[in-house]
């Protein structure tokens, strides 16, 4: 039987994880939450500093003369334009222009890149590297990663790190030191807030965790599990593989697949970049002809919710965490799409969802209805199509 593995932070995270609500993430134990309710963890992301163990992210180091060429070929971004120290979020597609996975590409050096992925992609990368001078190494176990998210994180890092991070711009990376140990710090995250990701050698993990927790205590630091992060990422309009889309590499049927355009990743598809990249033809066609689906935001009308619940004598009831379940979306009696993740947004005080809508129902301002269950009965709550992200604080990119 497959055994779940533990991350380099497990000694700390397991001591702190009170509910023992471990989640499976890419073959590793990941703390769902550290407390029995998510409030404090969620608000740490939005108001102070959240420390999240993201070591299960699958990581590759791609090195060699053709490293840039390989990533240029595989992903939809113009990798040749990236400067050393730049990070790019990107998806990658099959030849039919359907998304296989998504992650970040970091140009660590001129010919050295780090690629993160939700799922193993070594085979795909290798098979795309035919005739190239490039070495692809999976470093998931060798590199530990902490996502450090929230408005206070910069202050904490300025104390902890050898070099200040004030100048580190959004989606840039710097080499730095914590406890005298070399780390790379990128201004990235999965929360849509000010935040950083700290990448370190697995053997250095624990002292760095301890240092951050120690210094962070004055700044409201909290260890945060993936359930609170899940709420934050929906607010930020960020989707997740296997929840909000199915990888083209293991979809059973064509309709399960999604293109980057359908998921709102238009800005990551550099159709003007030179040379071949996987899926180019299909993506050009889709760009020309328009997409039939689009992922949009959905805001459920609270007064509408109250009216529905009032019929059974209750105030609106919604789950206290993000729900990773498909909910049908209707216009009239016709289903026009589905919500893949829905959540209560504490910061917005709104019930929101990531919604996949068919043409022409994905226009902003469209009135739709989302299925909810009220006392075991299916009901349709009125909702409005809105643009993503739902929440974007001005300090995110500043």
């Amino acid at each position: 039987m497959e055994k779940l593995r533990t991350t380099p932070f497990h000694e700390r995270t397991s001591a702190l994880c009170q509910p023992q609500n471990w989640r499976k993430w890419a073959g590793y134990f990941a703390a769902g939450s550290y407390e029995h309710t998510l409030d404090r963890e969620y608000w740490a992301i939005r108001n102070s500093a959240a420390l999240i163990d993201v070591s299960p992210l699958i990581k590759y180091v791609i090195k060699g003369k053709d490293a840039a060429a390989l990533l240029h070929r595989v992903t939809t971004r113009d990798i040749h334009k990236m400067k050393v120290g730049q990070v790019a979020y990107t998806g990658w597609c099959d030849e039919e222009g359907k998304l296989i996975d998504d992650g970040t590409v970091t140009r660590l050096e001129e010919s050295t890149f780090r690629l993160t992925a939700a799922e193993p992609n070594l085979r795909w990368l290798t098979m795309n590297a035919v005739g190239m001078d490039v070495k692809i190494t999976e470093v998931t176990d060798d590199v530990a990663a902490l996502s450090f998210q929230g408005p206070n994180t910069r202050k904490v890092l300025n104390i902890v790190a050898e070099k200040p991070v004030d100048e580190l711009k959004y989606f840039r990376m710097m080499k730095n030191k914590i406890n005298g140990v070399e780390v790379t710090i990128s201004r990235t995250g999965y929360t849509g807030d000010l935040g950083y990701e700290i990448w370190m050698d697995a053997k250095d993990a624990l002292p760095i965790w301890d240092k951050l927790m120690e210094v962070g205590s004055d700044y409201g630091i909290a260890p945060v599990g993936i359930l609170a992060m899940d709420m934050a990422r929906v607010e930020a309009g960020l989707f997740m593989l296997d929840v909000d889309y199915t990888s083209a590499s293991h979809a059973w049927i064509e309709p399960q697949k999604s293109s980057p355009f359908e998921l709102g990743l238009d800005w990551t598809v550099a159709l003007d970049k030179p040379g071949y990249f996987v899926g180019r033809r299909a993506l050009e066609r889709e760009k020309r002809e328009g997409s039939t689906w689009k992922m949009m935001g959905l805001e459920v009308d609270w007064v509408g919710m109250e009216n529905i619940f009032k019929q059974v004598g209750l105030p609106p009831q919604i789950p206290g965490m993000a729900v990773r379940g498909s909910l049908p979306i209707f216009v009239g009696n016709v289903q026009v799409g589905y919500a893949s993740t829905s959540t209560w947004s504490p910061v917005l005080k709104k019930y929101i969802a990531l919604a996949h809508l068919q043409k022409p129902y994905f226009e902003i301002g469209m009135d739709v209805r989302m299925e909810i269950t009220v006392e075991h009965h299916r009901q349709h709550a009125p909702a409005k199509v809105v643009k993503l992200p739902f929440y974007e604080p001005e300090w995110k990119k500043k």
Binding site: P274, V278, R280
Partner: protein
């Protein structure tokens, strides 16, 4: 880059020249680029010394009759089936067997009685295969749904083929389909009882292929070779070069250009569109369409390069089975070799042939080889199998002599004086086939003729219509459907696909 051509054809082999001739005849501005100093590819007659001239690789051959007619090629008094040279199986007693109804009688009355029916079926089967080879295969995709460009137009070809096959007769059609995956042994056994006859027929099935007489799919290769030759024996022996010279003259007469010693180093591709070629000397030539008669692996992986091709496509292209195992030995003699004219085979039994093939499986040269011998005056040309390109031990830069020795030893059993008559020899190893003649891995057919590499799976599944993922780049060599051996079908067919 002053001149822009309508079409550049890479390689002046017979398929490249056929395509060029058709296109030039249409009024297209055509340029054929040939790496070697002479045209012809593997359909070529060369001199290996004074008074030492032979068909280098294919012993003679002929183009499909419609090509000869379409292009108005001069074929007076040649190729007529009534004057076919004999096909002869060597016998230890010196009483060599000619494969025809009359001669077989002395071996087996029964076999002689069956002979006409066998020939009738083979001709019918070849006719059906010819029809299939004249049909552009639709792009039956490996995807779960039809490719977007699968149109009615592609369907028509199949419909026509279906009709054609229907007219071929239900029983023959069924027997044809049944014969394809059979082994040559089984197919021969359905008709004949005597080992000599069965083995002689089976030898034609494995000719040019890395397959044994007991390999599945040699029913197909037998029909394939029968189609190209018009029977068992080679025709126009010693005149292979004339075929391609005639074609080259036709290209020129239609206004096409041919440049020799003009090796294409790569195909210029911009955004998945072929724009031209770059020669080994750095010269760039632009064209609206590029046709490559080089093998698919060389064309796609070397001339285009994997970086410009979709991943699945590359995997398939890399997986094309080449694995050549043919060598040629040309012997210059004083002319008194005593080998009868025609196509002479050393194929004493089915098992002998299978054992010859066994060596290839293990990367060894057959010490007791299958030989097909043709003579052209004083020159004895030996087609040698099996000499695998990938040797377990050894090096083809040195092992050519081994092949020569094995061939001469084997033939000397039947022609004891042979050795003493030889004044000069020229061996073409599988490595020579690759380096001199551009046949990757020494595969005469640009990809083995196997059941998983034919029809809509040739050169690779989903790409059987001469097209490639690179717009304006087409394949027209032996490696595509219709190709393999001397026929010109691939070169003829590609023209139907071009807009």
């Amino acid at each position: 880059m002053t001149k822009i051509y309508d079409c550049i054809i890479i390689g002046a082999g017979h398929n490249g020249l056929v395509a060029a001739a058709y296109l030039a005849r249409q009024g297209k501005k055509v340029l054929v680029l040939e790496r070697r100093a002479i045209v012809g590819g593997s359909v070529v007659t060369e001199s290996f010394g004074e008074n030492f001239q032979a068909d280098s690789i294919y012993a003679g051959g002929t183009l499909r009759p419609d090509i000869i007619k379409d292009l108005g090629l001069d074929t007076s008094e040649k190729n007529t089936r009534s004057t076919r040279p004999p096909f002869i199986s060597l016998q230890a007693d010196g009483n060599h067997l000619i494969l025809d109804a009359e001669s077989i009688k002395r071996i087996s009355e029964k076999d002689a009685a069956r002979w006409p029916e066998f020939v009738r079926f083979m001709n019918k089967a070849a006719y059906i295969l010819d029809a299939a080879y004249a049909t552009i295969m639709p792009r039956l995709s490996t995807l779960p749904r039809l490719p977007m460009n699968f149109g009615i137009r592609e369907g028509y070809g199949l419909l026509e083929l279906g009709l054609e096959l229907r007219l071929a007769g239900r029983k023959d059609m069924l027997n044809f389909i049944r014969a394809l995956p059979m082994t040559a042994q089984e197919l021969a056994e359905e008709y004949f009882e005597s080992e000599i006859v069965k083995a002689a027929i089976a030898s034609v099935a494995i000719h040019g292929s890395t397959l044994g007489t007991m390999s599945a799919g040699t029913g197909y290769t037998l029909i394939h070779n029968w189609l190209n030759r018009g029977g068992l024996a080679n025709i126009n022996v010693g005149k292979a070069g004339e075929i391609t010279q005639t074609l080259a003259n036709a290209v020129k007469s239609f206004g096409g250009e041919i440049r020799t010693e003009a090796e294409v180093a790569n195909i210029k591709v911009e955004n998945q569109i072929a724009k031209g070629v770059v020669l080994a000397n750095g010269e760039e030539i632009s064209a609206n369409q590029i046709l490559s008669s080089a093998d698919p692996k060389h064309t796609l992986l070397k001339l285009v390069g994997a970086q410009d091709l979709p991943p699945e496509f590359i995997w398939h292209t890399q997986s094309i089975k080449m694995r050549g195992s043919v060598a040629k030995v040309h012997l210059q003699t004083n002319g008194e070799h005593g080998i009868p004219a025609g196509t002479v085979v050393l194929a004493p039994s089915i098992k002998y042939l299978e054992r010859a093939y066994d060596a290839a499986k293990y990367g060894e040269i057959s010490e007791k080889p299958y030989l097909e011998v043709t003579t052209s005056g004083n020159v004895v040309s030996i087609h040698f199998q099996f000499a695998p390109y990938q040797l377990k031990t050894g090096d083809w830069r040195l092992d050519g002599k081994k092949v020569e020795k094995f061939a001469i030893v084997a033939l000397s059993e039947y022609f004891p004086n042979l050795q003493s008559l030889i004044s000069n020899s020229h061996v073409i190893t599988p490595l020579d086939l690759e380096t001199t003649y551009g046949l990757a891995e020494g595969d005469l057919n640009h990809g083995q003729l196997m059941l998983d590499q034919f029809l809509f799976m040739r050169p690779i599944p989903g790409w059987s219509n001469h097209k490639t993922p690179i717009d304006n780049l087409y394949l027209c060599g032996s490696g595509v459907h219709g190709g393999g051996g001397v026929s010109g079908a691939a070169g003829r067919n590609v023209v139907k696909v071009l807009k």
